[in-house]
């Protein structure tokens, strides 16, 4: 500061500080994130890579590679972040991560500490090693075949919060503003373009209270401990912290120039102790310490590093590593043996979006990012609660047909899914047309009637909205017609609906349109979904047999036809 007073630096040089470059980068990436969330909507997609933040996430890359053995579609983009980390350390955390930027912004806005208090708040604490426990547990779980990293991965967490909590909240504010302005005589239809999910009806997500509450709590904790989430909980930060030991560039302290003034701790985001031996695994490379050092004793460099001024590895010993491994190995059977999601006993509401892979595979792939919920135009996709999918499937997508239905020619959820839990499908594949004809349409479940509540069945009142809206041809809801004299002596024709399970694709439009709202007279449950052999209902779909016969298809070649008969086997 003194130096600047003696030799005034030109204003433009002051603007070109590296921390300003960092803030610009954060603003750009945060803007891109919000832009992607905004574009994750049926009328806006237009080929934009709206899930790219998730696909760049090296932890998603690594854990899905562990759980499935494969790298889906665009997940290889994470190599970019891996390369950036082994070059520059955890630059992702303070230059790119939109969740990190949100935390930093809130911490900055609500900071009430004096400089000296900030030095204390920004010193490393042993509890910050907790994130390595979380990372270890997630990695062990993934290796065993249960993907839970999405619970805390910052990109997944922020996407999920945006889709289910922030977007409806923000859109509510926009709608409120618009109606207030309209009340004042100023109608601004253009405001709809600002909305994150401009559906006709306000969107609701079951259980989004808890997703929003988690976000608010974690962000609010910045007031107590700066960057609490990033320093203590973030599994992605922990992963990058482990990688950063290879980083060629790092903050290097010239011990001979350092006067131990502690000013470098004032804005240290990672609590990485730049004033002493730098904890490389904790450093976010935010560069604030360089900016704040009055002696120019700190440099971000690959050359002339002092090996004594760094702790290269996380504060995490062999004993902690074993403890973490044991935790993960206990967590796996605890999650799996919950008994709520087995092929014998699963929730009737565990209805997955079209293109979803078989349930065991699904749980190896879904990162609970809710991109599918965000893009779904009808609001039918909902975050599963503990009652539907158990702790293992918490916040994975399920269809709740009281809130919407699966639109016949829509495959958007399969388009935006970054991990292939919902495999990318075409409309042709979804409807079982063209090359998929002999296999038939993808079915999500099967519709059932509650005849005690159905108006024509139980109350002699004509209805059959369900038959009307049933989108397949021939219809999966058909009727048996009967003429009766009703309680008022009137002759009425009752079309009593029934389900043809072979034809039903479980789209749920019958349920969402059923006028018996409180508890629908027709409802879809998961049994009969085509993605699972173990959860099917019918031995054979007569409709598919008919299609095969009609198309003159040769019988499907036996997958075992080429197998030699092994003696004694």
């Amino acid at each position: 500061m003194m130096a600047r007073a003696r030799n005034p630096v030109p204003r433009i040089r002051q603007m070109l500080r590296i921390t300003n470059a960092r803030i610009a980068s954060q603003a750009v990436f945060f803007g891109l994130f919000v832009g992607a969330a905004w574009a994750t909507w049926t009328s806006r997609l237009g080929g934009y890579p709206v899930s790219r933040f998730l696909e760049l996430d090296p932890l998603v890359f690594t854990t899905t590679l562990l759980s499935t053995g494969y790298v889906y579609r665009f997940l290889g983009a994470a190599v970019l972040i891996i390369a950036a980390t082994v070059l520059f350390g955890r630059v992702f955390c303070n230059w790119i991560c939109p969740y990190g930027s949100l935390h930093q912004l809130i911490g900055w806005l609500f900071n009430v500490r004096s400089h000296r208090e900030r030095w204390a708040a920004n010193r490393y604490r042993p509890i910050f090693a907790l994130k390595y426990v979380g990372l270890g547990v997630f990695v062990v779980l993934a290796a065993f075949g249960s993907l839970q990293v999405g619970l805390l991965d910052p990109i997944c967490l922020l996407h999920r919060s945006f889709a289910t909590a922030i977007a409806p909240m923000f859109d509510g504010v926009v709608d409120g503003t618009r109606s207030a302005l309209a009340g004042a005589g100023l109608d601004l239809p253009a405001l709809a373009a600002v909305k994150l999910a401009p559906a006709g009806e306000p969107r609701a997500f079951i259980g989004s209270f808890w997703i929003g509450a988690l976000l608010v709590t974690l962000v609010a904790l910045n007031v107590v401990v700066p960057r609490f989430f990033c320093r203590t909980l973030c599994p992605l930060g922990a992963f990058l912290g482990v990688l950063s030991r290879l980083a060629l560039f790092r903050i290097n302290r010239d011990a001979s120039a350092c006067t131990n003034c502690n000013l470098c701790l004032t804005r240290c985001e990672g609590a990485a102790d730049p004033a002493g031996q730098l904890r490389l695994s904790e450093c976010f490379a935010c560069m604030s310490c360089i900016d704040d050092c009055p002696e120019d004793a700190l440099r971000f460099t690959a050359l002339r590093q002092d090996p004594e001024q760094v702790v290269a590895t996380p504060d995490f010993g062999r004993r902690q590593l074993l403890f973490t491994g044991a935790l993960g190995m206990l967590a796996f059977p605890l999650l799996k043996n919950n008994g709520l999601n087995t092929d014998a006993s699963y929730s009737p509401g565990l209805i997955r979006p079209p293109g979803s892979v078989e349930e065991g595979e699904f749980l190896k792939k879904c990162i609970k990012c809710e991109q599918c919920l965000k893009v779904c135009p009808t609001n039918v996709l909902q975050p599963a609660g503990l009652d539907i999918a158990g702790p293992e499937g918490l916040w994975t997508p399920v269809m709740v047909f009281n809130l919407g239905h699966c639109q016949l020619t829509c495959t958007l959820c399969s388009e935006v899914c970054p991990t292939g839990a919902i495999r990318r499908i075409t409309v042709e594949e979804k409807l079982g047309r063209g090359p998929y004809r002999s296999r038939g349409p993808l079915a999500l479940g099967t519709a059932f009637f509650d005849r005690g509540r159905c108006l024509p069945h139980a109350m002699q009142i004509p209805c059959v909205v369900c038959e009307e809206v049933c989108p397949v041809s021939p219809k999966a809801i058909q009727t048996e017609d009967e003429e009766v004299i009703d309680a008022f002596g009137q002759r009425v024709l009752l079309n009593k609906p029934f389900v043809v399970p072979d034809l039903c694709i479980g789209c749920g439009i019958c349920q969402s349109e059923c006028p018996v709202t409180a508890s629908r007279a027709v409802y879809v449950t998961a049994v009969g979904e085509t993605r699972s052999a173990a959860r099917r209902l019918l031995l054979r779909r007569r409709s598919v047999l008919a299609a095969q016969a009609g198309a003159g298809d040769a019988p499907a070649a036996s997958p075992g036809a080429a197998l030699p008969a092994t003696p004694g086997q």
Binding site: P58, V86, S256, K365, R424, A565
Partner: protein, 346 residues
């Protein structure tokens, strides 16, 4: 990074510098990690170790089905296709029937591993005739082990109720143990996907595979029972007990399935125990009054003919044969006409 001692002669306090070796080691590590990740993500799918999965289909687990061998043994010249032993105790009747077929030693060779498949579907006492009678099973095991000098006799079934209880309460576990056989109970790892070419419903299906590992001979030992859906449960229906998976769906087309079973496994012999016949309220029974004591043991090389004979003569039905027998005939696994093919020994 390992902390090294300061080399002698270097002035204390002067900042140490990164050695070239340390820098290169780190650079190599960084390049290695990045290239490994890039290779996994972007190498073409047919390259070794490549993990790219562009359409999400590669990570769907592949089904690797296996096939069963044909366990049949050609009968001696002049032997009937079906032989029935009457009179005496279980062992006597069984011997009569087997001798008429050419003797058990013709079918089971010394050193063979033989699988016996009784019907142990339910947790019932033997007197209710819902399960294979333990007496006949024990007699057969003794014949195989003593007369034929087989290496091992295995007894397996995948019951509807708890396997251990079914085997214990049907008396089969004790009978097998006393005769020197070995019971195989099913568990989650005992199943594999079996490929049955030309079958309509079970082309690839979960199959109780473990007891068949290295087995050379397979003999079905079934009771003769009334069945609510497919009229009768006899020798062919007995093989249902080796299926796993969601087999309750097969009742949507039971006749097709039972005839598929005759394609699925081509047993060395089929033995039907007519000592106690469950005449009604099958296949579970539950009242001794449903059971009629008979006096017959059937041994056959043709499972279709054995069932057809038992349907007429043990269940004493005069109605049409169960449709699955006709379907099995169409599939070429036997013949339902018993004219001149059955030899009864009093």
């Amino acid at each position: 990074m390992a902390r090294r001692e300061r080399p002698a002669g270097e002035p204390a306090g002067a900042p140490r510098q990164l050695t070239r070796r340390a820098f290169l080691t780190r650079a190599l590590g960084a390049a290695g990690v990045t290239s490994a990740a890039a290779y996994a993500a972007y190498a073409p799918e047919d390259w070794p170790g490549a993990a790219r999965d562009a359409d999400g289909l590669r990570s769907v687990p592949a089904v690797k089905p296996f096939r069963l061998t044909d366990f049949r043994v050609a009968k001696p010249v002049g032997a009937p296709d079906v032989a029935v032993g009457h009179g005496g105790d279980a062992m006597t009747r069984l011997r009569k029937a087997l001798d008429a077929l050419g003797g058990l030693a013709h079918y089971v060779s010394p050193g063979d591993i033989v699988l016996l498949k009784p019907n142990v579907a339910f947790d019932r006492a033997p007197v209710l005739a819902a399960t294979t009678n333990p007496e006949i099973l024990a007699a057969l095991i003794r014949l195989i082990l003593v007369d034929c000098r087989a290496q091992e006799v295995r007894v397996a079934d995948n019951p509807i109720e708890s396997p251990a209880d079914c085997f214990a309460k049907s008396g089969i576990a004790a009978a097998v143990a006393s005769a020197g056989g070995r019971v195989y109970l099913p568990d989650a790892n005992a199943f594999r996907i079996l490929n049955t070419p030309d079958s309509r419903l079970i082309e690839n299906w979960q199959f109780f595979h473990r007891p068949l590992t290295n087995a050379n001979k397979v003999i079905g030992v079934a009771p003769v029972k009334d069945h609510n859906l497919c009229l009768a449960s006899m020798g062919m229906k007995n093989w249902y007990g080796l299926l796993g998976g969601r087999r309750n769906q097969f009742h949507q087309d039971i006749h097709e399935l039972v005839s598929d079973l005759s394609l699925m496994i081509r047993p060395t012999l089929t033995i039907l125990d007519g000592t106690y016949v469950l005449m009604r309220n099958g296949p579970t029974g539950g009242d001794p009054a449903d059971v009629r004591p008979g006096d017959a043991v059937v041994a056959a090389v043709d499972p279709v003919a054995a069932d057809a004979w038992a349907y007429r003569h043990l269940l004493s039905r005069t109605t049409e044969l169960p449709r699955y027998l006709l379907l099995a005939e169409e599939k070429g696994t036997g013949s339902a006409s018993t004219e001149g093919r059955v030899r009864e020994i009093a």
